[in-house]
């Protein structure tokens, strides 16, 4: 959150931001890691006699139309959502950093073509681009990850390219060039280590976008497939039972919000911490 002009409170609020985010993310990550062992029921176990039960002492978040425990499903879903967010971000990070370094370092025609290509990618609304990629073949989780990753490549490319352009003018790079180092060495040993902070910040913000986009695609039936317990998919399935069982939609949604808020807080905190220039002003 922008903190206005430098003021004593601005510095104090920073760790709070970061810590609260980190705490939330840790809880969700822990849930994703140990979820299957602490869940009261297997996420896909039917309890036909307990269909659509309201939350009670046995089923904390109630049950769905097959009597599956919503709490256990939400727990299992955390794994899918976090995986989707992190894996998709890794995809865009990997491609984006490589392309951004190339464009920013070699300039010239390569740069021109790459950036036009990125403009092309960015000229589609994210959900539409994701749908377009997924429209081709039957949906499955890894394809969604790939699609979401591709959608967010341009953002990473832009950040990496601008940092690379800036760094390439620095004296230590000129020195490396003068020493006759080859391009690979300069790119990976000199530029990349110095380019990480802004890229990491951008990536941490992308994780939430990736989670939300992944969930939206799953919601539209283009992501995780039944019987898996992705949050977006759970909310989509809950739509037919809104009149009888509000808990089927509300709990996965709430947990998803908490996750995203947590990662956002963490990302904002990281940004303020890593980039003192942004400590005041900036959106």
């Amino acid at each position: 959150m922008p903190a206005g002009p430098p003021e004593p409170g601005a510095r104090r609020r920073l760790p709070g931001n970061l810590l609260a985010g980190a705490a939330l993310v840790l809880v969700i990550a822990a849930a994703a890691l140990v979820g299957p062992w602490v869940a009261p029921f297997p996420y896909d176990e039917f309890h036909i006699r307990d269909r659509l039960k309201a939350p009670d002492a046995v089923y904390w978040f109630g049950t769905d139309e097959y009597g599956r425990d919503v709490f256990s499903r939400v727990l299992a879903g955390s794994r899918i959502s976090l995986f989707m967010g992190v894996a998709a971000t890794a995809v865009s990070l990997f491609c984006g950093v490589a392309l951004g370094l190339t464009a920013g370092f070699f300039r010239g025609r390569i740069d021109e073509w790459l950036m036009r290509l990125m403009d092309l990618l960015m000229s589609f609304p994210p959900v539409i681009l994701g749908l377009l990629i997924l429209a081709v073949t039957p949906p499955s989780l890894w394809k969604t990850v790939l699609a979401v990753g591709i959608v967010y490549i341009p953002a990473i490319v832009r950040v990496t390219r601008s940092v690379t352009l800036e760094l390439a003018q620095e004296e230590f790079i000129l020195a490396a060039r003068a020493r006759g180092e080859n391009a690979g060495y300069i790119l990976f040993r000199e530029i990349l280590p110095n380019a990480w902070p802004p890229i990491i910040v951008e990536a941490s913000l992308r994780v939430t976008f990736a989670i939300l986009l992944g969930a939206a695609l799953s919601f539209l039936g283009m992501g995780a497939q039944p019987p898996s317990s992705d949050w977006g998919l759970m909310i989509s399935e809950a739509r037919s039972y809104l009149d009888q069982a509000w808990w089927m939609a509300v709990f996965p949604g709430l947990v998803m919000c908490l996750t995203v808020v947590g990662i956002n807080l963490l990302g904002d905190g990281l940004r303020e911490w890593l980039d003192p220039r942004l400590r005041h002003g900036g959106a």
Partner: protein
């Protein structure tokens, strides 16, 4: 300015052409046989052969593309495979309904977002500001489809004030038409209002610190004049560019929100087409959405240039 506009329009035409090639390519890599999709699983080989010849599926790819593209130019989008109706009218009906939704949402986003941002900036670090912050944080962190569900639960199921979903034409009564627009509109706008108000707040704060605002204050101008005549004008520049990007969000959001509210617009049509693998429909809807998105971006850039005297594209290009 005119030259710049023309160049941008040419670029858009180029982009749409690339898009049409891409969409056509998708048809070719899609597994499954179009003729079989039309005739169903148990069609005989002869029947499939006949349909393929009739639809020209056996011609070389370039010929097929040429035929499809020339029909497209003449405004003929072909026939929906699933609904077995010409796509043109389907598309224009859906587009009309979505346009109402999109315009309502856009007006609401622009007005409410900017207003909230200004209020938050003026009342910085007061309760109002914090309330707007929390609100915008929630808006940014929560996906539209979940807000849509929450909205249905609260207003349709628990309070019973509004119908939960669907669409009713205007001639069946103003309220029944309007009541079905409220949910989708509010859901669509929530995230964007949050986005815009955050942005307006920070750029407004920056402007309020500038020297010319100080000068205006020193002149003794009333605060209202300073805010709206001096500060807001400049503070709005970044907001306007982002508003344009948000038009794209709006279209992405429309797919999700129309699905939640079963609103028969363009977004629902896209989702339906992709779900049922209705190729001609996929091609037509995606092409139309891309076109609208590009035009919206162009409009925003032109507006930006018109409002910002430091940028005059014409001088640079001529």
């Amino acid at each position: 300015m005119i030259l710049y506009t023309l160049r941008r329009l040419a670029l858009i035409v180029l982009l749409l052409w690339v898009m049409s090639v891409l969409l056509f390519a998708i048809t070719q890599v899609l597994p499954g046989n179009v003729a079989r999709m039309i005739l169903g699983q148990f069609a005989t080989a002869d029947a499939i052969e006949a349909v393929e010849t009739k639809l020209g599926l056996k011609d070389p790819l370039a010929v097929q593309y040429g035929r499809w593209f020339s029909n497209l130019i003449r405004g003929d989008f072909g026939q929906s495979l699933i609904m077995e109706r010409p796509i043109g009218p389907l598309l224009s009906e859906a587009l009309g309904r979505s346009a109402i939704l999109a315009c309502l949402s856009f007006v609401l986003v622009a007005s409410a977002g900017i207003l909230l941002g200004v209020i938050a900036a003026v009342r910085k670090n007061r309760p109002v500001d914090h309330a707007v912050s929390v609100f915008s944080y929630l808006g940014i962190s929560v996906p539209e489809f979940f807000w849509g569900i929450v909205f249905i639960l609260v207003f349709a199921r628990f309070l019973g004030w509004l119908p939960s979903a669907g669409y009713s034409p205007l001639d069946e009564g103003l309220w029944s038409w309007f009541s079905r627009l409220i949910g989708p509109t509010l859901t669509l706008t929530f995230t964007l209002i949050a986005h815009i108000s955050r942005l307006t707040r920070s750029s407004m704060l920056e402007t309020l610190r500038s020297r010319y605002v100080l000068a205006a204050r020193a002149k003794g101008l009333p605060e209202r004049v300073i805010l709206f005549r001096h500060a807001l004008r400049n503070a709005l520049l970044p907001t306007i560019t982002v508003l344009a990007i948000d038009v794209g969000w709006l279209f992405g959001g429309i797919v999700v929100v129309e699905t939640v509210f079963a609103f028969p617009g363009l977004g629902r049509l896209v989702a339906f087409a992709i779900e049922r693998r209705d190729l001609p429909l996929i091609q037509a809807t995606l092409l139309v959405i891309t076109a609208i998105y590009c035009l919206a971006n162009l409009a925003a850039d032109l507006l930006y240039a018109a409002l910002n005297p430091r940028i005059r594209y014409a001088r640079r290009t001529s």
